[in-house]
C-alpha cells in the first residue's frame, strides 16, 4: 500500500458472560471515552466515527442510532459496518486512505447475553429451504468440522488441543473471561453441543466492546510513539448455500489472504508473520483457517498443533490473547483480533506479549461457515 494508515490507540472492556449493569450505549461510551483519554485526544480530533454492530443482536433497527451520543457522532460523520469487526477496520482504514478524512474512531459492540443466539443465527439461513431444518451457526459449523476432519484426517483430539492452548493463553489476558488450564481429556469430555463440537470447543456467550483510533501516517506519528501500520487488507465472499461449497475448502479466505500478502509484500507467511490473531469461534476453525491462509499445507493443521508450532513459545504463536474461545462477543470478535494483533506490535500486550513481534496477521469472518473472510496485515515500528 502506497499510503499508510496507523492504529494509534486501543481500548477494550473486560469481556464478560453477562454485563447486567451496562447498556449498549454505556459499553460504547466506556470504550470511546477511554481510548481518547488514554491516547491524549478528544472527540474533536476525530474526523469521523465508524461503528460496528448488528441490528439482530441488539434487537434494535438502526443499531448505530442507539449509540450516537455514546460514540460522539452527534452532528458528525458516522457510518456502520454491519458485518464482523474486521470488515469495520477495513472500512475505517479505507475512508482514511480516500483522503477525505485524517482520523477515525472505530467502535464495535455486542451483548450476546441479551439475544437468543439460536434464533438470531437461524435467521441467516434461507427462510424457505433451510431455516426449518433448525440450522444455526453451531450446527452448520459442526458440519464443516466433520467435513474438514474427514477430508484431511484431522482428529477431534487435535481440535481439542486448540482449546487447551487458547484457554491457557487467555489466563494471561486480563480481558478474557473463560481462561483456564484444561487437558485434552477435559475438552473431549465436555458437554456435546453438535457432534463433533463440544462445549470447550465452542466460544462462550460474551458481552463487550472494543474501540480503536486510526489516523493518517502524519497524525499517527504525532499522536503515539508506538503506531501500528496496516500494510495489507483484503476480503472475499464465498457462495451462500452450504451445498454449493466444499466446506473443507475456504476459497474466500485463501483469496483474501493471498491479496493481503501481496499488498504487504509477503511471500512466505510462515516465516514473515510473527504472530496471528484469528477468529476461532470453534476449535477446528483455527486449524482450518491457518491452512487456508497458506501457513502450511492442507491437512497439516493437526500435526502442527501437536508439535506446538502455534503455542506461545512456538515458531508462530496463534491467538496469544486466548482468542474467541476465551470469550469475545460475535461481531466485535474481528475488531478484537486486530486490536490484539496491534497490541503485540505496540509491545503493549502485557503478559501475553510475543517477544519481538514485528508483523502480525488478524483475521475475521462472518456468515455461515466462514462465508465472508477478511485478512489484515499489521506492522510495527515508527
Amino acid at each position: 500500500m502506497a499510503e499508510r494508515v496507523g492504529i494509534v490507540g486501543i481500548y477494550q472492556t473486560k469481556y464478560e458472560p453477562r454485563k447486567i449493569f451496562d447498556s449498549y450505549p454505556e459499553l460504547v461510551f466506556e470504550v470511546s471515552s477511554r481510548v481518547l483519554e488514554e491516547t491524549g485526544l478528544t472527540i474533536e480530533d476525530m474526523d469521523q466515527i465508524i461503528t460496528n454492530s448488528q441490528d439482530f443482536w441488539d434487537g434494535r433497527t438502526i443499531s448505530n442510532r442507539t449509540v450516537s451520543e455514546a460514540c460522539g457522532s452527534v452532528l458528525r460523520a458516522e457510518s456502520k459496518v454491519t458485518m464482523d469487526g474486521s470488515f469495520a477496520v477495513f472500512y475505517a482504514a479505507m475512508r482514511i486512505l480516500s483522503g477525505c478524512y485524517d482520523s477515525c474512531l472505530l467502535v464495535s459492540h455486542c451483548k450476546m447475553s441479551e439475544g437468543a443466539p439460536h434464533v438470531i443465527n437461524n435467521a441467516m439461513f434461507d427462510p424457505l429451504y433451510q431455516r426449518i431444518l433448525g440450522f444455526d451457526e453451531l450446527s452448520t459449523c459442526a458440519l464443516q468440522a466433520k467435513r474438514y476432519m474427514y477430508k484431511y484426517g484431522v482428529a477431534e483430539e487435535q481440535c481439542a488441543m486448540v482449546s487447551v492452548k487458547n484457554l491457557k493463553n487467555g489466563m494471561t489476558n486480563p480481558h478474557a473471561h473463560r481462561a483456564m488450564n484444561v487437558t485434552i481429556g477435559q475438552v473431549m469430555s465436555s458437554r456435546m453441543l453438535a457432534n463433533p463440537i463440544k462445549e470447550l470447543d465452542a466460544y462462550p456467550v460474551t458481552d463487550g466492546a472494543c474501540a480503536m483510533i486510526l489516523a493518517i501516517e502524519e497524525k499517527a506519528r504525532r499522536w503515539t510513539k508506538t503506531p501500528v501500520w496496516i500494510s495489507g487488507m483484503a476480503s472475499r465472499l464465498d457462495s451462500y448455500y452450504l451445498g454449493d461449497r466444499d466446506l473443507a475448502e475456504v476459497a474466500s479466505l485463501e483469496l483474501a489472504a493471498k491479496k493481503a500478502y501481496q499488498m504487504a509484500g509477503i511471500t512466505n507467511p510462515r516465516k514473515e508473520v510473527d504472530v496471528v490473531e484469528l477468529s476461532e469461534f470453534y476449535s477446528y476453525q483455527e486449524l482450518l483457517w491457518l491452512e487456508a491462509m497458506g501457513f502450511w499445507q492442507r491437512g497439516e493443521g493437526g500435526k502442527i498443533i501437536e508439535k506446538g508450532v502455534t503455542a506461545m513459545d512456538g515458531e508462530l504463536p496463534v491467538n496469544p490473547s486466548g482468542g474467541i474461545l476465551s470469550g469475545n462477543p460475535v461481531t466485535v470478535a474481528g475488531a478484537i483480533r486486530v486490536a490484539e494483533a496491534a497490541l503485540q506490535l505496540m509491545g503493549k500486550a502485557g503478559k501475553h506479549q510475543v517477544d519481538g513481534a514485528k508483523r502480525a496477521l488478524a483475521q475475521g469472518h462472518c456468515g455461515p461457515c466462514g462465508q465472508g473472510q477478511c485478512v489484515i496485515i499489521l506492522e510495527g515500528g515508527r
Binding site: 500500500m1 502506497a2 474533536e44 474526523d47 469521523q48 448488528q54 441490528d55 439482530f56 434487537g59 434494535r60 433497527t61 438502526i62 448505530n64 442510532r65 442507539t66 450516537s68 451520543e69 457522532s73 452527534v74 452532528l75 458528525r76 460523520a77 458516522e78 457510518s79 456502520k80 459496518v81 454491519t82 458485518m83 470488515f87 477495513f90 472500512y91 479505507m94 475512508r95 486512505l97 480516500s98 483522503g99 477525505c100 478524512y101 438470531i120 443465527n121 435467521a123 441467516m124 434461507d126 427462510p127 487488507m233 483484503a234 476480503s235 472475499r236 465472499l237 464465498d238 457462495s239 451462500y240 476459497a251 474466500s252 483469496l255 462472518c366 456468515g367 455461515p368 462465508q371 465472508g372
Partner: protein, 391 residues
C-alpha cells in the same frame, strides 16, 4: 461546526446506474432475483460484465425482511462471489451510506470499479414493526408509531411556526408524482390536483395519504470507477465532488425534526464549501432530495439553503423547484413516488448521476452541470453528495 470532510485525493466517477421498475409488490421475483435485476441493468448500462467489478457494497434494513447477514445471503444475485464484499446499513440513509462507501472504496486506491447495491422488498416484511424496533425499549417504544406519527407531530409544529399551509405541502405531492410520469422506474406515477391531495385520507394530522411516501419493492445499483477506468466506460460520467454525513441524537424529544433539520443544514454547508457553491439555488442545476413526506421537502429547501427559514412554502409557490423552474427538485418523482427503503437514498444519487450523465430521457433537465443528492433517515440524519459534469 468545523469542516471535517475533504474532497478525495483520487477522482471518482459514477459511470452507470440500474434500477428495477419499482412496485408495491413484486411477487414475480424473490429478493435475490430482484437484486439481480438491478445489477444486470446496471452492468448493461455500463456495457460491462460482473468480472470487471472489483467489489460489491450492499445494504438494506435487515429487520424489514427478517433476514440476518443479507450480504452473505445475496451473494449469488449481487455477483459478489469470491469478490470483496461489504455491508453498510444506517437506516433510511443506507442508500447514501452505500453510495458514499462506493466513493471511498475507489478513492482509497484499493479498488478501481465498485458496484453499490441498495434494496428493499417491503411486501415480504412488516416495515412499521421493523421501524418501531429502533425506539428505546424502555422509554420510547410504547409510544413509537413508525414513520407517520413523528412526521405528523413535527409537520404540525412546522406549520405553526412558519405559517406553512397544507396546500403548499400538497403542491409537493402534485409536482413530484407528476414528475414521476416521466420516470419509467417510479412506483406512483400520478397526475394529481392539490384538491385531490387535500381530500385524500387523513393518516395523522396534517399528513394525509397523498402527503406520505409509499412502501415499495425495488433495488438500485450503481458503478463507481477511478478516473482512468471511468473514461473508458462512459465518456460523460458524473464526478463525485463532495460527500458529507451528519448524524444526530437518538431521542426524538431532543430534535426539532421537520422544523429544522440541522443535520441537513450542517451537511449541505460543508458540501457547498467543499464544492465551491455559494448560492445553491443558482449554482446547482438539479437536486434529488430525500423527502419522506410533502412537508419535509419544503423544510429541506430551507435546511439546504435554497431559501431562508420558513420560506419553503413560498419557494414552492414561486415554481422554482418545478421541472421548468430555477432548480428542479426531484425530477424522478422523489421518495413520494418510490420508496424501497434500503435503495431510496441511493436512487437519489443515481437519479442525480443520471441527470449529470444526460441519461434522463423524458425527465432530463437541460444542461445539468452540477447536481445534489441527499439521504435522510436514522434519527433525523442526513447525507449529501454533490456530483459534477467535470472532475
Amino acid at each position: 461546526m468545523r469542516t471535517t470532510a475533504r474532497r478525495s485525493k483520487r477522482n471518482v466517477a459514477i459511470v452507470a446506474t440500474g434500477q428495477t421498475d419499482h412496485r408495491s409488490k413484486r411477487p414475480d421475483v424473490n429478493i435475490i432475483e430482484m437484486i439481480n435485476e438491478a445489477v444486470r441493468r446496471c452492468l448493461a448500462d455500463a456495457r460491462m460484465t460482473i468480472e470487471e467489478i472489483d467489489g460489491i457494497v450492499i445494504g438494506n434494513m435487515e429487520h424489514f425482511e427478517g433476514i440476518f447477514f443479507t450480504e452473505m445471503w445475496s451473494v449469488e444475485g449481487a455477483g459478489s462471489f469470491l469478490k470483496h464484499g461489504m455491508k453498510i446499513t444506517t437506516g433510511g440513509t443506507t442508500g447514501t451510506s452505500l453510495a458514499l462507501a462506493g466513493y471511498y472504496h475507489v478513492a482509497s486506491g484499493l479498488f478501481d470499479t465498485v458496484m453499490t447495491i441498495g434494496w428493499e422488498k417491503q411486501s415480504e416484511g412488516e416495515t412499521t414493526a421493523g421501524l418501531i424496533f429502533q425506539a428505546d425499549p424502555l422509554w420510547e417504544r410504547a409510544t413509537m408509531s413508525g414513520a407517520i406519527g413523528s412526521f405528523a407531530a413535527s409537520a404540525a409544529a412546522y406549520m405553526h411556526k412558519y405559517g406553512i399551509t397544507e396546500e403548499q405541502a400538497a403542491k409537493v405531492a402534485v409536482k413530484n408524482r407528476k414528475n414521476a410520469l416521466n420516470n419509467p422506474h417510479a412506483h406512483l406515477r400520478m397526475d394529481l390536483t392539490v384538491e385531490q391531495v387535500l381530500k385524500s385520507k387523513m393518516l395523522a394530522y396534517p399528513i394525509k395519504m397523498l402527503d406520505m411516501c409509499p412502501t415499495s419493492d425495488g433495488a438500485c445499483a450503481m458503478i463507481f470507477a477511478s478516473e482512468e477506468k471511468a473514461k473508458k466506460i462512459y465518456q460523460n460520467p458524473a464526478w463525485v465532488i463532495a460527500g458529507v454525513t451528519r448524524h444526530d441524537q437518538p431521542f426524538g424529544g431532543d430534535l426539532q425534526m421537520v422544523v429544522n433539520l440541522r443535520t441537513l443544514r450542517s451537511a449541505t454547508e460543508e458540501a457547498y464549501k467543499i464544492s465551491g457553491i455559494k448560492d445553491p439555488l443558482r449554482d446547482l442545476d438539479v437536486a434529488e432530495l430525500y423527502e419522506p413526506c410533502t412537508f419535509a421537502e419544503l423544510s429541506w429547501y430551507e435546511a439546504a439553503g435554497f431559501c431562508g427559514p420558513g420560506e419553503g412554502g413560498k419557494l414552492i409557490d414561486s415554481g422554482a423547484t418545478y421541472m421548468d423552474g430555477e432548480l428542479p427538485v426531484n425530477p424522478s418523482g422523489g421518495v413520494l413516488s418510490t420508496n424501497c427503503i434500503g435503495a431510496t437514498a441511493m436512487i437519489r444519487v443515481a437519479e442525480a448521476a443520471i441527470q449529470v450523465m444526460g441519461k434522463g430521457g423524458q425527465r432530463q433537465v437541460p444542461n445539468v452541470k452540477r447536481a445534489m443528492a441527499t439521504g435522510f433517515g436514522g434519527s433525523w440524519w442526513s447525507d449529501v453528495m454533490i456530483l459534477s459534469k467535470t472532475p
